[in-house]
Every structure is written in structure tokens, then in C-alpha cells.
Amino acid sequence: MLQTFSKGGVHPPENKFSANKPIENLGLPKQVSIPIAQHIGAPSKPVVKKKDKVKTGDIIAESQGFVSSNIHSSVSGTVSKVGEIIDTTGFKKPAVIIDVEDDEWNDSIDTGSEIIRDCSLSSQEIVDKILQGGIVGMGGATFPSHVKLSVPEGKKIDTLVINGVECEPYLTSDHRVMLERGEEMLVGIKLLKKALGVNHVLIGIEHNKPDAIEHVSHLVSKEENIEVYPLKVKYPQGGEKQLIKALLNREVPSGGLPLDVGVVVHNVGTSLAAYEAVQKNKPLVERVVTVTGKSLSKPSNFLVRIGTPVRDLIEAAGGLPEDTGKVVGGGPMMGKALSSLDVPVVKGTSGILVIPEKDAYRDEEFNCIRCGKCVDVCPMGLEPYLLKQLAQLERYEECEDNAIMDCMECGSCSFTCPARVPLLDYIRLGKTNVNQILRNRKDK
């Protein structure tokens, strides 16, 4: 029996159409729009102005504070505007817009393809390089990576977990990274291991990627203390708490972080980016993005410069099908529907999913029939039907008592509800209000 997490979970159709498509370099767009708030935490501060010339890898916005991250130019050219754009979240965000000319890289960056395995840097120097390179979690949450590597006083980390689960249906970017960039990724993992000072690494990969499991297992076979763990296919196993439960049988306490149970989790894409930042001095200016969908003619995995319009990716994947109803940034379970194809790829964009019209709308909603299925599937052990009711009735205190803030917004409850009750919509609303209450309480 393969390991997995114990509570709840669902198994949506996997639909990994692009699993066998090697990573293609998408090439340069005409113009990039690079949001300067691409991470959880304080937005960075732009350090360029209109008409400035920039090279690929030049810093264009500086990190502000600890939980923040540097932003670099992903192309060379001229800054045409420092202003606002609509980003993937549908909100206006400050951004730097650059007209692309050539592809000239910052001199300090090693753009060669040779893999550099040895590293004599100290832990702190590795963390600094990752901070400088603007590396954030590339699984979607975009939490600045250096923060996770700076273990607070009094906490002891014994295990580094590498997340190669990719449990979202359709997405294959991590899968391809493991297959094609496995060696670099492994160097990255060893750097992260050194930075944390742990000697135990577990790489979790879901069983539906047997080639990746085999390849990575082969790569680590000579490594001591790095192990690959095939996991049963179950969503949301890529959630940090679920992954730690599956691999180590440790439960991160409510409101806690992985480091409360001695663990730090990094994604495979992040490991690759860490390698590039430390060994090649290359900041996070490009990433692998899966472009996929049932009616798309050429589902693909592209290496894309940050800031490239989503439209370019869809063009390269065969163009937007006539029957398109919805385009999602990310996977079908947690991704955000895009209001326009002009939004740029950002550091957290793991995929672009094109959904046909007929699947784009929700089915007719019924009364809750109290079947309890939402309770069964909730990986956090919550009662979604109840949280929805309480949020709808604006009984936020009771929402809080019923642990609404533990909801990881995985969508399993809405996914499974036979009555098509939009559970997560209401739970999100409840969380927003409870969050406000919590903040007010703190301020007092």
C-alpha cells in the first residue's frame, strides 16, 4: 500500500495531457509586464523608471522587509512604463512594463548549460543568494523561499521535504522539471539541505508519474539521506500539511507551520530555481508553465519568461479554441479564472488551463441534502456545510469556533457536493470576515 494522508481527499480525473511533452523554450515576447508584488508579503519597491535600459536579470524592484522578495527583469530592453496592470488575480497591481530588445543578460549571470555541482558557500551565503535571486515558492503560494530557510531561534528542523506531488489535475510542469532538469534540481535540493543544516531529505512524488519516480530515484541512489517516496494519488496531497502527514505521519497543528513539526517543504521547481540562483547567479526570471485543456490542439510545457502575456502561451499551444469558456491560471482545483488573456505569467504560474464552454458553468444548485460528503472529503476535518451556513448567516464567531481558519481552500468540498452548493465561495467569505475580526482583536 502506498502512503498517503489519512483524512479526506478526493480523486478528480487526472487529465495530464501534456505529461509527455518536453519543455519547449517559448522565446521572447515583444513586451513583458512584471508585477512587483509577486509574493506573499510586502510589495517590492521599483528601482527603475521610464526609459531606463535594463538587461535580463537586472534588479527592477527591491525587496521591502523580511517577507518580501526581489524582482528582476526577465528580458533586456527599455522600460516603457512603471504603472499598474491587471494581473492574474483580476486586481490592479503595480508593475514594470518593458519593451523587449535583444536578449542581453546581466554580466554576473552564468548562462551556460554546464551543470555546476560543487558549492563551497556557507549556509548563510546560500540563503543570501536565494534572497538576492528573488526565489519564491513556485507551487503557487509564492512564499519567499529565503524566509523558509531562516529557521527561527528555538525551532529545530530535522527533515527537508521536497514536493514533487503535483496533485492538481492537468498540470505537468513539476513532472517535466523532475524528468528533464533532475540533475540540477538535485543540486538545488542539496543546497537547500545545506542551508537548513538538516541531513534528512524526503522527495514525495505521486504514483501517477512512474517515469519521474524512476528517474529521480536513480539520481539520488548514490546520495545518502535523500529518499524518494512514491505516494498514492490523492488530492490535495501537495498541500504542505497533507504531504508531511503522508511522508512522516506528523500533523502540523492548527494555525501552525511545518517548522512546528521540524519540517521545511520546498517544491521541485523552487529547488531548480535555487540551483540557478546559487550556482549560476541567475535570478528567477523564467519558469516552466503547463498550457493545457481538453480542446487545446497542442497541450505543452513551456519555459517562459516572467511577464509574458498568457495570450502568447495559448497561441504557441495551438491558439484559443472556439469553444473556450474559461481560462484558469493554475490547476482546476485551486487556480484562478482569468478575466483576460493579457495578464502576465508570474512566478507562481504553474499552468494555464483552457476550459471549454460546456464545462465552464456550474450545474444547477440544489438545497443541501445533508449527505455529509463534504465532511467526508475535507482534508482538514472541517464541516464545510456548517461553515457555509454560518458564514451565510454572518455568524462569524461560530465560524471561528468551528475552525474556519484551518480551511486550506482546496475545494474538495465544492468538488464533491452532489447538490452543487458553492461551499468554498461562502467559506472564503467567512474566512475574510473572521480574519478581520482576528486582526481587530490583535490591534486592541
Binding site: G335, I369, R370, G411
Partner: protein, 333 residues
Amino acid sequence: MANNKVLTVSPSPHVFENTSVRKLMYGVVIALLPVLAWSVISFGIGAIIVTLVSVLSCIGFEYLIQKFLLKQNPTVTDGSALVTGLLLAFNVPANLPVGIIIIGALVSIGIGKMSFGGLGTNPFNPALVGRVFLLISFPVQMTSWPTPKGFNTNYVDAQTGATPLGILQESGDTPMTKVMEQVPDYSELFLGQMGGSLGEMSGIALIIGFLLLLYFRVISWHIPVSNVLTVGLFSGILWLADPTQYADPLFHILTGGVLLGAIFMATDYVTSPMTTKAKWIYGVGIGLLTVIIRVFGSYPEGVSFAILIMNALVPILNRYTKPGRFGEEVQYG
């Protein structure tokens, strides 16, 4: 190219499981077909008439009430009225006069379901509300059981006989061994060769229905299993204590709708609890109450009352049996 296409923007998730209220309800209907088939084979035309009248009047009343009384869009196509109609029919004798069936349907749908706001909001199982109403209002008709004797084209004049539980109830101080001689043996009980309601006769047909419900993922096994196990255990303890006075556990399980109740009535989504813990308590509670009513009460069978009583406790069960939250079990360090 579709450049200026208007894209739908809605919150995640963007995919949904291939399920619906309709599919679940029709899953129940399919699971009930073996039971229906057996009752038609046993009772003939009576079973067909009772079922048709019950189903059609349940659907009809729901439609009329929604359309003209509540002024809502009728939702009868969701299949829940059909299920209630079938279950009501399966809980009455096969020669029940048509007028009484219609009254039962009106009570089931009108009072049991719609007076609380329709599907999802009713605290009591509608079919049982109808049945218990009929039991109290028409005790004679509701307890005159035609004997099953193969496909029978005679509806009203069918020969009636006692049910196994009825025999037990009437037995007074007669020793149990004597009483047992009068009831059909277990293979007959299991196959369904006894007097009783339409749907409670054949253990086999009901168990096939149970497996179908599990296969269609309509219900989980917890309620039926805990319910039947409890009936068996509790009646078994009594029987072991005094076999001359109490019937044995298998008899209790195979008679008087224990299986029908456990598999199809107690598992009604709307009126049963949500969490696994609560499902156990609920199933055990129904089992205990069933045996208590049968052995110590004045009605021969106790399933309907047991379920209705436990229905009333469901909100409390849900409230006090939270699922185990993530993060509270295995603590580290």
C-alpha cells in the same frame, strides 16, 4: 481567432465530481428494484397497485404543493418524491385500500417534507411520517397482511395472515419454542416467504439493494451495519439470558423491517447524521430502540418509531460529534 471572447470568471474549484442529487436519488431507486421485483412476485397485482398509487401521489402532491401553495418552481424531477413514494409503499401491506395510500402520500409529502421547506430541510423521514400516521389512523387496514403466495391477481380480497412479529406479540406466556413453531423458518424469512409489508420480506433482495447503494456510493456502510449489529447483539443478550421468553437474534434481524429500515430508511441523507462518529451512535440507537419497543412495548415492530426518535436527535448528534480536526491527533516532539 477568438480574441475578444468573454471569459467566464468564477472562483475555484473549476471541476466537479460527476455526481448530482438526481443521480443519487436514482441510485436509490435502482437499489430498490430487486425489493420491488420480489414484492410483485410475492403479492402480484396488489404490490403493483400500492406502489404505483404511492409513487404517483407523492410526485403529484409535491408538484401541486410547490406550484400552487408555495409558489416555487417544482423540483419533482430531482427524484426525491419518487424515492419517498417507493419507500412509503414498501412500508405498508399489499392490499391497503387506495384511498388510504393517497392519504399516506399526502401526509408524507405535505407534512413530512414540504411543511418544513422541502428537500433537505425536513427533520423526519417523510415516508415514515406517512407510515406512522397511517398506523395510528387506520390500525386495522395497516395490520391486515396478505400472505405471499406467488403472483396474485386479486387485490382486495387477498387472504390475510399474521406476520412473524405479530405471532410473537400475541403469544403471551406461551414458551418461545412453541411460538417459533408457528413462524416460517429462517430460509423462508430470508427469502421472503412471510406476511408483512411490501418491502420488508426478502432479506436477500434487501441485501442486494444494500450492495447496490454501496456500489453507487450513495451511502456508507456505517448506519446499516451498526444498526443491524445492535439489533442482533441486544436481542442476542436477551435470548441468551432467557431463551424460553425471548426470540433469537436472527429472528429479530430477519423480521419486521429491520433490514429495510437499516438499509433504506435510516440512511436517508436528510434525516441522518453527517459525521462517521454520529452515524455509529445513530445506528446503535435505532437498534437499541427497535428491540426495546418490540420486546417491552405494545407495538409488535419497532423500527419506524426507533428511526423517527433517532431522527429527532440528529441535530444534537451532529453538534456533539465533530469530525477529528487535522492537527489534533498525532502530536510531534
